[in-house]
């Protein structure tokens, strides 16, 4: 019992690290729940993961700490991309309650469940004394972990990896779709440009803008007869109604130019 107390006492640099990093971690974890934007939540989640990794490293588990960073930053990055793809680039949570009275019930349930967990885990005891990290790491942290993973826990390890591979394959099958027609190659496009329709655009579409006066993408180019070149404007901008008239940017009298 006293051995356990000795081993778990934190002092010196580790205590300093703990008292600086722990409040920051808790703050980040809380604000992860409270911020409105999904992307901010993802960033704060990454911050929590990295500070946990620093704790692991400080507690003589460098491999676990580093793997935590490699795996979880990658995972959070994926989450980030999912947010962008599924929720939208600039979305935030709506705080209106759709079902009345849900909030107090949720808060009570969360507090009750949390209290239950804390009180249970706080009273739990192991039926054997722990050896401490110094004994576990006697051949080095990485070889000790490898020894356990590839001997005692090899079955669990393989089952988990099989599960993950199945999940990845399943995701690929679900997301897979066959192209109806083959994707045109650069060569196909070049051939098509010369062999179909008019040769007017064979050298590329005209660029937008009125020469020397305005060359932004929202101003259509002018043809030699003064009419508008429709092909110089993106269809998206036109649909959005963002296109400006190019008439004000025309040069009126060329002969008045100073010589």
């Amino acid at each position: 019992m006293y051995l356990a107390l000795e081993l778990t006492k934190t002092s010196g640099p580790e205590a300093v690290l703990f008292w600086i990093l722990a409040p920051l971690t808790v703050l980040a974890a809380l604000s992860m729940l409270l911020v409105k934007k999904a992307v901010h939540s993802a960033i704060l989640l990454a911050a929590v993961m990295i500070s946990l990794a620093i704790f692991y490293i400080a507690q003589d588990a460098p491999f676990l700490g580093i793997v935590q960073i490699v795996v979880y930053t990658g995972a959070v990055m994926m989450l980030f991309l999912f947010i962008l793809m599924l929720v939208g680039v600039d979305s935030s949570d709506s705080l209106t309650e759709t079902i009345p009275g849900l909030r107090p019930i949720a808060i009570t349930a969360a507090l009750g469940f949390g209290g239950l967990l804390v009180s249970l885990l706080g009273r739990a005891t192991l039926d054997h004394d722990f050896a401490g990290l110094t004994a576990a790491n006697i051949d080095g942290n990485v070889p000790a972990l490898a020894q356990l993973l590839f001997s005692r826990y090899v079955w669990a390890f393989e089952v988990v990896s099989a599960l993950l591979i199945t999940a990845a394959l399943g995701a690929m099958v679900l997301a897979h779709n066959h192209r109806v027609v083959a994707r045109p190659t650069q060569r196909d496009r070049a051939v098509r440009r010369f062999r179909t329709g008019s040769l007017a655009t064979a050298a590329g579409l005209p660029g937008p803008g009125v020469y020397a006066l305005h060359n932004a993408v929202d101003v259509p180019a002018l043809l030699p007869d003064g009419s508008i070149a429709q092909a110089s404007i993106s269809a998206t901008l036109e649909a959005r109604g963002d296109v400006i008239d190019s008439a004000p940017f025309q040069l009126e009298k060329l002969e008045e130019e100073p010589k």
């Binding site: 934007k37 491999f63 680039v89 942290n141």
Partner: protein, 411 residues
Amino acid sequence: MSTAELIGQDPGWLIAVKGVLVFAVCVLLTLMAVWGERRIVARMQMRLGPNRVGPFGLIQALADGVKLALKEDLVPAAADKIVFIIAPIISATACFMSFAVIPMSGEVSLFGHRTAMQLTDLPVGVLYVLAIASVGVYGIVLAGWSSGSTYPLLGGLRSSAQVISYEVAMGLSLVAVFIYAGSMSTSEIVAAQHKWWFGVVLFPSFVIYAISMVGETNRAPFDLAEAEGELVGGFHTEYSSLKFALFFLAEYVNIVAVSALATTLFLGGYHALPGLTFTEQWLGGWFTLVWFFAKVIFFFFIFVWLRGTLPRMRYDQFMKFGWKVLIPASLFWIMIVATMRVLSLQGASRLTVISFASAIVLIVLLIGAGFDSAKKKAALAPLPDEAAPFPVPMIPSLSTTSEIEGTVQRG
């Protein structure tokens, strides 16, 4: 005494001094790298490059830095302000951190202490560098997202896809090194190379690492995250002044860091060239520092050479190359390395090892030949010949070109 034990005896003030030295070396190398890159690229393009500020234009990069710092610092109205400011800080912080585990010299004496020019030695040092690199990407992705504008967002997304894909290939190429060195600590990997460099023993791993390190650092020909022709400036389009300078700094420090890691893993770190090992004792061991930086600068030159020579790859080609070529090739190579290692550790006869190796070579050649013939068949498929509505120059189909080539060869 191992390097880890040697460094472990450092007093606190010496650790602080080394930390400052590592930082100074990174910044100085960046300044020199910017100047060197511009001069070398200029030479490749038959120009002179910066030659006005200081002797040979040496302090041009410093002048550019001052200019950048004095520019107006813009924050776009549509930007997410906090993330917009944090992003370059993440980039610039992460790039310096990976240098902490790089062994830059052998055992030397610094202010009367026996130590080595390495800030710290982790048993998982190389993985630490990978972890820091994956934190560094956050800078780029968040910069792209927080700018509130289309091109930066596209650049940020491209870069995240790029780094995630190429980190897999990079991590796999390192596995062979771990198997041969029997450790993931940078100092022990260098020590394991005192006789043979891993760049020679594990040449395929070296090639895969070299390719993926260019992909990791967003450099030409893989600089799709900031492709000027497609995305203006990519993720840093909206950045100006010191924030842009931080991204600029991060890019160059990252190049130096991956070069230093390549030196450590494959070119024997601070060890001298084979046959010149007596130079490692010169200047009380400090001469190893010269060897280390010579190798890093060699890699940097390769980076510049690539930029001056190769056009940018198309995005889908780049992704295809990473997933369909680099990763399967690394997996295949790891299997071979592991088998060879087990064979040699169990004391198999030389005949067994040689016959195993030649069987592998034979299989690879057969597969390659199969691919080649399939490619030729696909290439010879006739083009659909519709009647052209306009008189256009004849587009030579491949069958006619190969006929022409055939006549040329015969003639």
